[in-house]
Subunit: 248 residues, 4 copies
């Protein structure tokens, strides 16, 4: 019998784990490991990493069985353009995506959503971040207190020049004096996208219950709908934009 | 004495003019010609085309003197990636852009704003399009009636899967039974973007007073602000995202 | 054993039923009757009408057991202010609301959402309305084709001057030449609101499968979340705005 | 010769001035006085107060000559309903409004925009507020640094449950640990509305150059457009919603 659980693919660049020894001290199984550990009961989870195979864990076979993709990237930006195009098309066809931490500001996110800031400012001092719920009605905040704290976080400051989100859900207050839109969503075609910024590979953010609740809610919110195909009407000519260069 | 007029660069692919003889029957000076004719009194206008030189009319020298760029493209999609990157950065730094007609759904727009539909449906029968003002308070509608007609237009149907606009200004009704979000805006960094869909190179759309008023209003609305530079704060590390591959 | 079904209250003004004999020809059980008939299997449904009792069917007892309220109003606008205030507060505390047809443009909607147009234009000729899905990712469109037709509908034209929706989901094309934002949502506090415009008491709109699917999806989307109460922080003074006149 | 300056009406409740002696120490001419002092060179300014006459300074004669209204209210909420209805209709017809400080969360704002939070939390300790520009392209931020400080401010915390703004412009960081959407806009019909939250009658906020620049930009942004009247189409029936009870 087939499970009717949402099929979740956790993708991790798996590079912080190699370059920064502290990452494996905090997350002995890597960031994909900690994510899998708290998501595997609720969802049908698979894990993929950059270094896994020559598709970087993103073969058609794997993607054909993916409803929602969690994306953690930080340092690597040489993902082949054909792979990114394939992912963008999957999102337009309904696959949900959750961009975690810096993944929300890098290559795949910038190509799918439009680029954000040209300026990559950050501060890495393990300061306090307090997240405030701005949209109390959004399913991603189900069971989440109106504000909660991450004791040690990397700070990304506004103005971040992100494309105006469809839903702004969290705003973060940082100890050092900055604010950040830190949880927000977009639609792209039939696909839903959730960006969730708190984190850092050497801070234990993903062990925190509120963070785990938000990510679980995000997976449920991102799951694809059952949609009949688009019907052409009389006199219409149709072509596939993907046949045109530079069109992702 | 320097003029304080907004410096407008009209960029035309200038390809319909070569492939479709009807284009030059309707617009003997090309699409860039008709645009220049009704914009040159209000703005300090320059014209550029794809075939003009090896920068395609988009040299740094030209862009350094551009406040707002009008972009008409349809068939060519091989604009060099370095040129597109340069344009994206200019927008984030404040340059306004008006995408006319199919230009709003192709390469530069898709890279700046995020991709729109994977499906390029259209109908080219010269049918009636009636534009309805949805946002009566927006400066782009100044002096524009609450609805007006384009007698012959190319039809693009919804669902168009565009990134959710910041401001939805016009919705079009088509004789054949479709609707379209046909005028809408985005911000990208310090830059403002206006997409205005009605048109076709072989229909006399750009001679119409309401269309001309909307485009003039658009240029004024898109003009850059005077902004002090962003100030870094204590402990911040800064880098330039443009140094990273795949980040436009 | 308690059901875990969403508790839905269908409220109907029940006035068209008295003034316009055709209403009962089309809907022998009233508009509340037809709504109940297709919603009662999926949800725990109660029905209330204006003329039911001196609370107009909206006692605290009833509302205490309501997760989502469907609101159909057209002619009556003398709902007591205290009742409207109570409803507004319930929405802010999480109760979902679906405004059907003219209910989206009248008293309760205007007080909850902010007023819409001062101009009440309509055309009642049973013309064709074609609804286009603009947001293919929204749960309210689950299982709904990208466009579908209502054979006979009352026409409300743009510009409608509604408060800019949080999510624009449907745009309607009317045979007579107009367009309308005809399905859209808002949040108000912890409550979600869905406005769905097609309909008229003397046209058989609510028998249509696509319309029924949209309304069922709407009920699920509107259901309240489980939210911890808001926590005050150090030094804060708190008061209840409802103690101030004119503040709904 | 008539001036073509924007005609600005500064309306002040003028009640803090009577109840809290510190107000007149900071602002000897009242809050309307300080606003007038920095706005009178750029705009054609009139001043009105609650206690001025039996129209509370809001006669038809005065409003007939008003393009933009600045509204400062805090304690009084007994403004006659007929006056509020009149103001709402003026906004829909194009009059701009700037709500300052608590005015953005009280009676006129709640009726025009839809209610905000039922919970009136605040902290009045003169703490530091740092405003961050979120929308660098918006004309209201022209000439404004990407962040600036108000040394002593009254704190209003999120979640504030405001209707989702059309444009979110500023987010504030407070010394005590909270954030606030502190500058944002709406459209209502042909009218533009800007809410700007920093302030308190006993802190010298309105002497600050950045605050003055924002308010001046706001007045320019709010000014009405020149719009042809809405044209009815064939078969339409028209009525005036203002004839219906409870419809502001």
């Amino acid at each position: 019998m087939m499970s009717d659980k949402i099929r979740l693919l956790i993708w991790n660049e798996n590079e912080d784990e190699k370059r920064f020894p502290d990452t494996l001290k905090i997350y002995p199984g890597g960031i994909h490991g900690v994510l899998e550990s708290f998501l595997k009961d609720d969802f049908a989870v698979k894990v993929a990493t950059w270094d896994q195979d020559d598709t970087h864990g993103l073969s058609d076979e794997v993607l054909d069985h993916t409803d929602v993709l969690i994306w953690y990237s930080h340092l690597r930006n040489e993902i082949p353009k054909a792979t990114l195009e394939k992912l963008v098309t999957r999102v337009f066809d309904g696959m949900g995506v959750i961009f975690l931490h810096s993944g929300a500001l890098l290559s795949f996110a910038n190509i799918l959503l439009g680029p954000s800031s040209r300026r990559g400012a950050y501060r890495e001092q393990g300061e306090l971040e307090r997240l405030w719920v701005i949209n109390r009605a959004h399913p991603i905040t189900d069971g989440v207190p109106d504000h909660f704290e991450v004791q040690q976080s990397e700070m990304y400051p506004e103005p971040r020049d992100i494309p105006t989100p469809d839903d702004l859900i969290f705003i973060s207050w940082f100890e050092g004096g900055e604010v950040l839109r830190s949880g927000y969503t977009y639609i792209r075609g039939a696909g839903k996208v959730f960006c969730f910024l708190p984190g850092h590979s050497t801070f234990p953010v993903y062990y925190q219950p509120e963070i785990q609740t938000v990510i679980k809610n995000g997976v449920r919110w991102c799951a694809p709908l059952k949609k009949p195909p688009i019907q052409s009407r009389s006199g219409e000519v149709d072509f596939d934009y993907r046949t045109i260069a530079h069109n992702i």
